[in-house]
Symmetry: C2
Subunit: 355 residues, 2 copies
């Protein structure tokens, strides 16, 4: 959905590769993560410093083929190797629908999906995913399991000013980011982890070494270029600030969605607090990347099915460990798709609007 911004930037983001570029497995940097390109490392640090959404000093950066690979790398690095039983992996419902699959798809003996963090009561070590703001519901989150043997993975894919107020620079042990949610370049498959502990960073790097022998150089160098332009746009008053632009797009979409939802009186939308944002230096609302829609009908109302009948494609709450009344809808679709979605949603009428 940020395509219009990138089109406007013209050739500012152009990057050309020659035939003899990037032949080697190895990167040119001196990072612990031996395949991390130094230009990308530099631009990741710079952007976090500009946005103030995460501390980078004294953190190790591990680059991954999107943040999915980094989730697996983090699970690999944080799972004990001396246990007979795989470690339990949890996240509070509604959780990102890929966590169960990513944890269990090869039936790993290292880690095992154990469902909702709120009802997790097993003693012993566990890993908790904390997605903040959360996918699917956009809520800012904290860990929920009480237990001193927990290892935490913070998935901060949506902790950028267009989605939520930047309330303080995050400084957790393991934090995951991805360019796809930050700038919209999902096709590049570039994510990065900020990792406090050296041994954890080493093990994550090892995972990516075994899994894919590093991360595409072309994708890394292009990502570096894109992040550079984003930082430039925040600092250079002559440029259009990327986050202001994308925030205004999100704000407009949310306003229109809230209006339709109010009009048809059939759904409830998640509410978000008004918070002061360090980046915009102003109070602002959240504009999550997904809308978490709740049908007003009874518990057995199948919201996904109902919307499908109106040709609206959503993901059922069930996929997020929640119930049938909920669905997740992308707020990042292309303009024409978003307009069609709103138009179709308008035609649905709640009981009080019926004749």
């Amino acid at each position: 959905m940020y395509e219009s911004y990138w089109r406007k930037m013209g050739n500012k983001c152009d990057i050309t590769f020659n035939g003899d570029d990037s032949l080697s497995y190895f990167a040119n940097g001196k990072s612990l993560c031996w395949f991390l390109e130094s230009k990308l490392e530099e631009q990741i640090k710079r952007l976090h410093n500009v946005v103030e959404n995460a501390i980078v000093d004294d953190y190790y950066i591990v680059v991954g083929t999107g943040s999915s690979q980094l989730m697996q790398a983090a699970l690999y690095a944080l799972s004990p190797t001396d246990q007979l039983e795989p470690i339990s992996v949890v996240s509070a419902t509604p959780f990102y629908s890929s966590y169960p699959e990513v944890t269990d798809f090869v039936k790993s003996g290292l880690h095992k999906w154990a469902g909702d963090a709120r009802t997790f009561e097993k003693n012993g070590p566990f890993i908790e995913f904390i997605t903040s703001p959360n996918n699917p519901d956009g809520v800012v989150r904290e860990p929920v399991v009480n237990g001193n043997q927990g290892k935490l993975i913070y998935d901060l894919a949506y902790y950028w000013p267009q989605y939520t107020a930047i309330t303080s620079p995050a400084n957790h042990d393991v934090m995951l980011f991805t360019i796809s949610k930050c700038t919209g370049h999902a096709g590049s498959r570039i994510g990065w982890a900020l990792v406090k502990d050296k041994e954890v960073a080493k093990k994550m790097t090892k995972f990516i070494e075994i899994s894919t022998i590093g991360v595409s150089k072309e994708a890394q160098l292009r990502a570096a270029k894109i992040l550079e332009v984003v930082s430039d746009s925040c600092l250079d008053p002559k440029m259009e600030n990327f986050f202001e632009y994308s925030q205004s797009l999100m704000s407009d979409r949310w306003k229109r969605l809230r209006q339709v939802v109010m009009d048809n009186n059939f759904f409830v939308l998640q509410k978000y607090p008004f918070q002061y944002c360090l980046f915009t230096k102003d109070f602002c609302e959240s504009h999550p990347a997904f809308a978490w829609l709740i049908c007003k009908g009874g518990e057995e109302e199948d919201c996904q099915k109902l919307l499908k009948e109106h040709k609206i494609h959503t993901r059922s709450g069930r996929r997020f460990g929640s119930d049938l009344r909920n669905v997740r809808i992308s707020m990042l679709s292309r303009d024409e798709d978003f307009n069609i979605f709103l138009k179709r949603l308008t035609t649905i009428r709640g009981p009080t609007n019926e004749n």
Copy 2:
């Protein structure tokens, strides 16, 4: 080592990305592999047809982040899901040193490394990796396990004319290739599988979807460009044929290595048959990407240790399921590194050369 070729090609391989290119997860093609760029698909098919090293008609193409990811995808797709025990994965020694690690690194319950295919005697289903020409020893291989419940993964990374004679177009059920060994672009992390069975191709695609949500667009599009130039160079008499160029580089290096090995009378090198190559239309020798060096000393001679004392970096035969007398040496290093290696090797003298 093919850098000089790519430098010579000048701007023929240049590719430029604009800010608004490749934003989406999805590719523009209609392939079963939903993230495969149609340009790459087209150039993969074209190159195999030009080189005649593999049949592509009626095969599904699955793109991966290097062939390592495709190995895991193939294991995932070929492992039965209805068994209590993980399926045994084997390969004949000396086998590619990453197979055990790739199979077992997350302690998968789907598949388990079971070592040397030659001594494998368990009844029931198994998966055999057949690397041909083989890494580390360059030998052309066939499956070795007798058993009708075997599923075969052909790793054909080195089945290109600069390394070996192309004796017939390969037409196995699952065949893996990678751009890193074909053209030298290891940093792009692009591999592809040719898969006969639709369900297997679907499951491999699913694996890559869960693991990394596809493969970098930039890397795919650049790989398409590089493969296009390689095919062009084979068909256009005005261009320098990539495979003739790289074959002559390999041939020169092997000649020099054989001379040094003969002179110092301390090692034995693998021998290869002279074979007719469909691509060069001539009989030719093999020039493998690795030299498999055997110390003439007794069985307990630690060849890797000995060479390390002479500052020669090798990988011990042990890593390939073989013994200490063997080492693998890369024949694809940069010119200056290869020259230093040969110079250092020259200083080692066997017993008959001693005073």
